[in-house]
């Protein structure tokens, strides 16, 4: 299991108080959810509610199922052969498994940023507006406007505004990841899923992305998977701790880090295992 790395800048875990914002308390609601890869049960009896426009962090040791749960929120795991689930996930009251709901329209409402930045081998501009092109937007002015807005939100605009037509593959690692965020928010999804978005980045780039998460949570409900306790503490309002496919504890970040009710949680965040 990986060592928990302390970011060089902070040796002390800082906790952000959960800000109270308007919004549904059970915007995303996961009920008795279980998930299998073939015979292997990767998630067991998960039940948690994610409030609207808050940041929720999933933490836990490697292989505990954080990514699996995250990737089920936009049904990306449907692409894997031989999977099945039990229980249900609803977004704004509607099941994501509702046969009347197309997976494509679900994914358009739930943006995703991956652990490894994965820009397309296209220009920066085309990367950002891809989601709009997919829904058939052809109007150049609309595309340009969306491109600028998204890049500004992703705090990348100033760095790339003069080379929008250059290949995205020429960007640095941190810039690529912010480009992927810009791409994920370009068609204004309601939810943003981030799977260890900073794990391949240096501390400065990590800092920028964390700031970005603060900015974005006014508009998006954000679920972030991280194996950095410090990051969870810095960016999230609520934190869920998983272990071996089970949800051990889910509460406000303050509570999880200051006063966890489970011994396993306490052991994990204090670095005694993990």
């Amino acid at each position: 299991m990986p060592q928990i790395m302390n970011p060089p800048s902070s040796s002390r875990i800082k906790v952000r108080p959960a800000t109270e914002r308007e919004g549904r308390k059970d915007y995303i609601s996961i009920r008795d959810y279980g998930f299998w890869y073939g015979q292997k049960k990767a998630l067991d009896a998960i039940s948690l509610d994610i409030p609207e426009r808050q940041v929720v962090a999933f933490i836990g040791p490697s292989g505990c199922g954080k990514s699996t749960l995250l990737r089920n929120l936009n049904r990306m795991n449907d692409l894997v052969d031989g999977v099945h689930h039990e229980g249900d996930i609803t977004i704004n009251g509607r099941s994501i498994y509702d046969p009347g709901l197309e997976v494509i329209s679900l994914r358009r409402r739930v943006g995703m940023v991956f652990q490894k930045s994965n820009p397309f081998p296209k220009s920066i501009f085309e990367n950002v507006v891809y989601a709009l092109r997919v829904v058939g937007v052809r109007d150049r002015a609309v595309l340009e406007e969306a491109c600028e807005t998204s890049l500004r939100k992703a705090a990348l605009w100033d760095e790339v505004k003069d080379r929008l037509d250059d290949s995205a593959l020429g960007l640095s690692g941190g810039q690529m990841q912010r480009l992927c965020i810009a791409r994920a928010i370009a068609n204004r999804p309601e939810i943003l899923l981030m799977d260890e978005p900073c794990s391949a980045l240096d501390p400065i780039a990590t800092g920028k992305i964390e700031e970005l998460i603060h900015e974005l949570k006014d508009q998006f409900t954000i679920v972030i998977v991280t194996h950095s306790m410090q990051q969870a503490a810095r960016v999230s309002d609520r934190t869920a701790f998983f272990y071996l496919g089970k949800q051990i504890e889910y509460d406000t970040t303050e509570k999880i880090f200051m006063n966890p009710s489970q011994a396993q949680t306490e052991a994990y965040i204090s670095g005694r295992f993990g």
Partner: protein, 544 residues
């Protein structure tokens, strides 16, 4: 190590030599073949010195050395050689080539007045000129100082006349004939359907065409008889008089007098004719332009057909089909398709494309043509389209396998990123997977092209001919005639080497044609590789 013996020699060292040997044998064969073709193919166009040889039996011969080989039955330790001379003057000697025992040659000299002629008919000639009768009637003796200049000037003037004649007889009269054929078919149809107006119109059209035909023939006659033709009076090796009208002369040179620059110019003049002119003399002389063009057009069409077919199939197999036993069987079958002998594809092409498909097209769209033109098929016979389709089918597995590999090699992250933004599967394939796998797909197309361009056997069944009267592409609508038969370099090699009445004369051309085919394939490949590298450059720096 515990073992005390032989620990300094790593085991398996012998295999390094073994594999190295394999490489050397392989390379050796490739280089050997290529240099054989290149040396023989290039030297065809080089003009060597031409000796006048005295033979034991009293004969004299003038000829260009073509081959030297060990005489059959001569002892291995003291081999005796025989020489083959190209003596030309087929109409007098019966044969252009002559074998002579090397030991029987008494003397050889290289007199400066030996003249080589390439002629429109009867192949080359090697003679010693006596005098030139110019077109104005004056006669210049070969010993005259101004002879050579006057002679070359007359050759050039005669060439202009010849070109004009060819333009009239072959092209303009050919066009009239083509129109006449169409008009006759239309007339027969009109007569059959009792369309009085049209019958009248067609009759008038045909009368007009006949008139044009007669005018052109008269014009041609005038060209032939008009300017008095200059001719060269000369003696052959056995002192017989040879009179050659200069309209017959394509090229004349003094092989023993030429400086290196002259030889280089002659070389490029011959090379130019070879690449840009039409063939003469049962394809053993002249150029290969129609065959080059046919090969090129056919290969390009084959690629245009096989690429979409192959890519679509591969997309289905890789992206949509349910992975399982059935799919595995389909894959194995596709791969085995690559091992089916190409002649089988030719038979299939003939049976299905030509007879079934082509026959149906004729029934549907060219029924009039069939009915009123003695059942002459249009698409129901071999042609460019069917050749391209047959070879496309043959090279399909290559493209399918390459595309599948390329699709599989696209990083999973790219695929997921696209799907996660809400793109459908097809949008992901079209916008992300296909562009990313384009270089790999092109590799497949390059391999398919290389295989297709060199294939001959199936083409003989579905539309390649020894001599096509027209190119598949010309000025008459619809410009590209997919139904036409065409010439092909690979078939040309076979035809020259094995079907030619004069195999000695054809031999050098076989090498030259082979060389040309190799050059063409290499050029096509370089073009495709260039495109692929440009595509690859776009993906450079991908961090997956």
């Amino acid at each position: 190590m515990a073992s005390s013996t032989d620990s300094s020699t790593p085991r398996g060292e012998a295999f390094v030599w073994f594999t190295g040997l394999g490489l050397i044998i392989g390379l050796g064969m490739v280089i050997g073949l290529l240099s054989l073709v290149i040396v023989n193919g290039i030297t065809v166009f080089w003009a060597p010195q031409v000796p006048v040889a005295q033979v034991d039996d009293g004969r004299t011969l003038i000829g260009q050395l073509a081959q030297r080989r060990v005489r059959a039955g001569s002892p291995a330790d003291k081999p005796r050689y025989e020489l083959q001379y190209q003596v030309g003057l087929r109409e007098l000697n019966g044969n252009s080539y002559l074998w002579v025992d090397e030991a029987k040659i008494k003397s050889e000299s290289f007199p400066a007045d030996v003249l080589g002629l390439e002629r429109v008919e009867n192949g080359p000639a090697f003679v010693r000129p006596q005098s030139l009768r110019k077109s104005d009637g004056k006669v210049i003796a070969a010993t005259d100082a101004g002879f050579e200049d006057a002679f070359q000037a007359e050759v050039a003037a005669a060439a202009v006349v010849r070109e004009k004649l060819i333009e009239i007889t072959r092209h303009r009269i050919g066009d009239v004939n083509g129109e006449m054929d169409k008009a006759r078919v239309a007339l027969r149809r009109a007569e059959d359907l009792k369309l009085a107006d049209e019958v009248e119109a067609r009759r008038r059209q045909i009368a007009g065409l006949e008139e044009r035909f007669a005018t052109l023939q008269a014009e041609a006659k005038k060209v032939v008889e008009g300017g008095a033709v200059a001719s060269l009076i000369s003696k052959d090796a056995s002192n017989r008089e040879v009179v050659v009208p200069l309209t017959q002369v394509i090229r004349a040179w003094f092989p023993n007098r030429l400086d290196t620059w002259g030889r280089v110019k002659l070389f490029f003049s011959r090379l130019g004719e070879f690449v840009f002119d039409e063939p003469r003399e049962a394809n053993t002389e002249g150029g290969l332009m129609p065959a080059i063009f046919g090969t090129l057009v056919m290969t390009v069409f084959m690629s245009l057909l096989v690429t979409p077919f192959g890519v679509i199939t591969a997309i289905y197999l890789r992206e949509y089909a349910q992975q399982g036993a059935v799919l595995r069987i389909v894959r194995i079958s596709v791969n085995n398709l690559a091992g089916v002998p190409s002649i089988v594809f030719g038979v299939f092409g003939l049976g299905f494309f030509v007879y079934v498909l082509g026959g149906s097209i004729d029934q549907l769209f060219f029924a009039d043509q069939l009915k009123y033109n003695n059942n002459t098929p249009v698409f129901g016979t071999g042609g460019l389209l069917w050749c391209s389709l047959t070879l496309a089918l043959m090279t399909l597995p290559v493209v399918i396998v390459a595309t599948e590999e390329a699709l599989a090699a696209v990083p999973r992250g790219m695929r997921e990123a696209s799907l996660a933004t809400g793109a459908s599967k097809w949008q992901t394939i079209r916008d992300i997977l296909l562009p990313a796998s384009a270089p790999g797909i092109l590799t497949g197309v390059i391999l398919a092209m290389a295989r297709g361009a060199g294939e001959v056997a199936p083409l003989m069944l579905v539309g390649v001919v020894k001599l096509a009267p027209t190119l598949p592409f010309d000025g008459s609508a619809p410009f590209l005639h997919m139904d036409r038969k065409f010439m092909h370099l690979g078939f040309h090699v076979y035809d020259l080497g094995f079907q030619s009445p004069d195999s000695d004369a054809a031999r050098p051309m076989v090498f030259a044609t082979t060389l040309l085919l190799i050059v063409l394939v290499v050029c096509l490949n370089i073009g495709a590789i260039w495109i692929r590298n440009r595509l690859r450059a776009r993906f450079k720096g991908a961090s997956f």
